[in-house]
């Protein structure tokens, strides 16, 4: 016997929640409990009084699973609103990464040249290394990291995706 799986889609969800202890565990735990994927999850409070956090979750699943994910999030007590940005259509997604590259001589020059192409900023430097800050779509960061491997990639830290619908309305 073999276990079957359906075709998956990638969706970016924006979830606003009451900023209370355990809320992240509640949400992340719901994903594991129900066997849903989390590809990326970011969270930070977005109100002056720290009362509401905005969570951006990238998940993958069949359309039926995605519909369930949204409904399961929506029924949780501290959840205010769930928006499926992918379903909504037009939205922007951005990610930030810090990329440490070590090397000397030509490698240094090549690293800086590539950083310029990717509009990455140098945020730390030593005689033999740089830390670059690069922002953009995840695919852009992937490509930057890939190129840096050839030059002397040491380590990468990524924030995960934050996302927002285009246009003048709030979600």
């Amino acid at each position: 016997m073999h276990i079957k799986e359906g075709l998956k889609e990638r969706h970016t969800l924006s979830v606003t929640v009451t900023n209370e202890p355990g809320v992240l565990a509640r949400i992340a735990g719901m994903f594991t409990a129900r066997g849903y994927n989390i590809e990326s999850l970011t969270v930070a409070d977005i109100t002056e009084d720290d009362s509401i956090s905005r969570i951006t979750i990238v998940t993958a699943g069949t359309p039926a699973v995605i519909e369930q994910v949204v409904a399961q999030l929506d029924r949780m007590v501290p959840v205010h609103k769930v928006t499926d940005l992918t379903l909504l259509g037009d939205h922007v997604e951005r990610e930030l990464a810090l990329v440490k590259v070590a090397g000397t001589g030509d490698h240094r020059i090549e690293a800086l040249r590539l950083a310029e192409v990717f509009r990455a900023n140098v945020v730390d430097t030593t005689i033999s290394s740089f830390v670059f800050e690069v922002t953009g779509a995840s695919t852009k960061i992937d490509r930057f990291v890939e190129l840096m491997k050839e030059i002397g990639l040491v380590e990468v830290a990524r924030t995960g995706i934050v996302a927002m619908a285009r246009g003048k309305e709030a979600i």
């Binding site: 016997m1 929640v17 009451t18 202890p21 355990g22 565990a25 509640r26 735990g29 719901m30 409990a33 039926a64 519909e67 369930q68 409904a71 399961q72 929506d74 029924r75 007590v77 501290p78 959840v79 205010h80």
Partner: protein, 582 residues
């Protein structure tokens, strides 16, 4: 400014303000301040169980039988972990319950202190919501909010974890006004446009069926009344899940019996052949649908549920209506009448249904030498149904036989563990139900294996002079397990024999109960009569046929129409796909 009082007193005050009359609990170090506060008041009655799991099931039984939330109080660590099974049970069956757990003092949390357990962590995914209360100032509001969440929307268990220092520290308490929660707003009324569409679909259907569930019981007695009205004006047949029994009377004309794995032939065939299924407060559980890709292939589906996540979870529906099923049915009836729809001519449909009914799928091979378990349930029904009893069950064949052969006329009379299927539910649930209905006849229809899982509760019934009855269908097997082994594993009865059984009569007597043994068919009626005549708790050990099977049965992985009706259709071994399903 109201006067300052201890957290423990705030808790008691808040519970009184919420109308709590009974708490099921068990003391321990981390709840001593609360127990002391309870000692010094008279408004709330505390029922001392013998195991925290039983406290949760008793609270469930109380809730299911009265419609009020069940309240539990347990200590930290083992008290809380022992309660987890009942909390999960309440989540699965949507039972309103508030569980107060003690916790070590706030400065000790996280230090592996004595009897510390991460109660909010452990119960996060088996509660509707949970709280760790960090100051007495917030305690009162949290308790009120916990009850609000437990009892509204889709009901469920809520845990409130209270550290010991919060129980001792003082703060003012004032009863809060109506709760206006920032993010939790269950939808009660259904969208009227969708309801109108549903009514038109119902009016146009040729082979409609109302598939009802526990949501109707949860919505309150009025929902059961309006269901009867809906069935009457539409002329549609009615079936129900295990959890919904009693919402529509078993003596009603439109009643097809329970559907699903052990449902009737007519109910399952009607689901399979219907052109419209109106799901009312049920959730297309796997025990109901059988094989999903063969489920109700001809039917359009309307789903009314208060929980949006129930929509399209397992079965895609054509018309989802989110709202309280009682309110939605009321609107459906109103729209139906306003549009002057009359009962459609469903005579062809009913003729077909009568053919299925003629199969008499609940019949079983009679015996003159052994008591057939089905006959025992029937005898019990004959002797008691005029008293409108409350029936609880354990889990297994006896539970299904009770569901099939005990006929319920009204809601809140049938208390069983459906979603989680928890052996050990029935006795504590009967205790809870009896406390909520002191004058009712309450019977736990039990199996000899299940009853041993919370047998210690015999003492609780004795202590509070609760005249509950236990009727054990003793087949000396974990019968349901044995039945599956017979069907799936060529009768290799691995560990399903109930060996070393206690003498239940003597066991009952040791706890101050009356014990009765029924061994032969001719003793059945008199034994039941003796049980009913006794003014106090009675345990009946009814020895039944040992290897009887529960039919009809839809084997797991099969469709509604692949129902097995009798032993001779039982195959010896199933394939791996079927073996992998529960």
């Amino acid at each position: 400014m109201p006067k300052e009082q201890s957290g423990a007193n705030i808790l008691v005050e808040a519970l009184c303000d919420l109308g709590v009359e009974v708490i099921f609990g068990y003391p321990g170090g981390a709840v001593l301040p609360i127990y002391d506060a309870l000692f010094q008041q008279k408004r709330i009655r505390h029922i001392l169980v013998r195991h925290e799991q039983a406290a949760t099931h008793a609270a469930e039984g109380y809730a299911r039988a009265t419609g009020k939330p069940g309240v539990v109080l347990v200590t930290s660590g083992p008290g809380a972990t022992n309660a987890v099974t009942g909390i999960t049970d309440a989540l699965m069956d949507s039972i309103p319950m508030v569980v107060i757990t003690g916790q070590v003092a706030t400065h000790l949390i996280g230090s592996d202190a004595f009897q510390e357990a991460d109660t909010v962590g452990i119960t996060r995914h088996c509660t509707k919501h949970n709280y760790l209360v960090k100051s007495p100032e917030t305690l009162g509001n949290v308790i009120h909010e916990a009850f609000h969440i437990a009892t509204t929307g889709r009901p469920g268990p809520v845990v409130v974890d209270i550290p010991k220092d919060v129980q001792v520290a003082t703060a003012p308490y004032k009863k809060p006004g109506t709760i206006n929660h920032a993010s939790y707003r269950p939808q009660i009324k259904g969208d009227i446009k969708l309801i109108e569409a549903a009514v038109e679909m119902l009016a146009a259907a040729e082979r409609p069926i109302l598939y009802t569930g526990g949501g109707i019981i949860n919505s309150g007695p009025a929902a059961s009344q309006i269901l009867r009205e809906l069935a009457r004006i539409t002329g549609a047949p009615v079936t129900s899940t295990l959890m919904g029994l009693g919402a529509y009377p078993a003596s009603g004309e439109a009643w097809l019996g329970m559907l699903g794995m052990h449902g009737t032939y007519e109910a399952n065939w009607a689901m399979n052949q219907a052109d419209l299924i109106v799901c009312l407060g049920a959730r297309f559980d796997d025990r109901v649908t059988g094989r999903l890709d063969a489920f109700a292939p001809k039917a359009k589906k309307i789903h009314v549920d208060i929980d949006r996540s129930s929509m399209n979870k397992t079965v895609r529906v054509d018309l989802p209506i989110v709202g309280d099923v009682g309110h939605v049915m009321e609107d459906m009836v109103k729209v139906w009448k306003a549009r002057q729809h009359t009962k459609a001519d469903l005579s062809a449909w009913w003729t077909q249904i009568d053919e299925w009914r003629a199969k008499k799928s609940l019949s079983y091979p009679p015996s003159t030498t052994e008591i057939m378990p089905q006959a025992a349930v029937q005898a019990l029904w004959n002797a008691t149904h005029k008293k409108n009893p409350i029936i609880t069950t354990e889990v297994g064949q006896h539970q299904m036989w009770a569901a099939q052969h005990f006929h319920f006329e009204s809601p809140n009379k049938w208390l069983t563990s459906g979603g989680l299927g928890t052996m050990g539910y029935g006795l504590p649930a009967a205790i809870g139900a009896q406390l909520g209905n002191p004058n009712a006849l309450v019977i736990d229809i039990a199996g000899e294996a299940s009853i041993q899982m919370n047998i210690q509760e015999l003492a609780t019934a004795t202590q509070y002079r609760l005249p509950v009855k236990i009727f054990i269908l003793n087949n000396e097997y974990m019968g349901m397990v044995r039945q599956w082994q017979e069907l799936t594993y060529s009768s290799r009865y691995s560990e399903s024999y109930s060996d070393a059984l206690p003498d239940f009569v003597k066991l009952g007597e040791a706890y101050g109960w009356k014990g009765i043994r029924i061994e032969t068919p001719d003793q059945l009626e008199s034994g039941i009569a003796e049980m009913l005549a006794y003014d106090g708790p009675v345990i009946v050990d009814c020895l039944v046929a040992k290897v009887a099977n529960c039919f009809p049965m839809i084997p797991s992985g099969a469709s509604h129409v692949e129902m097995i009706l009798a032993d001779d259709q039982v195959s010896g071994e199933l394939d791996d796909e079927a073996k992998a399903l529960v």
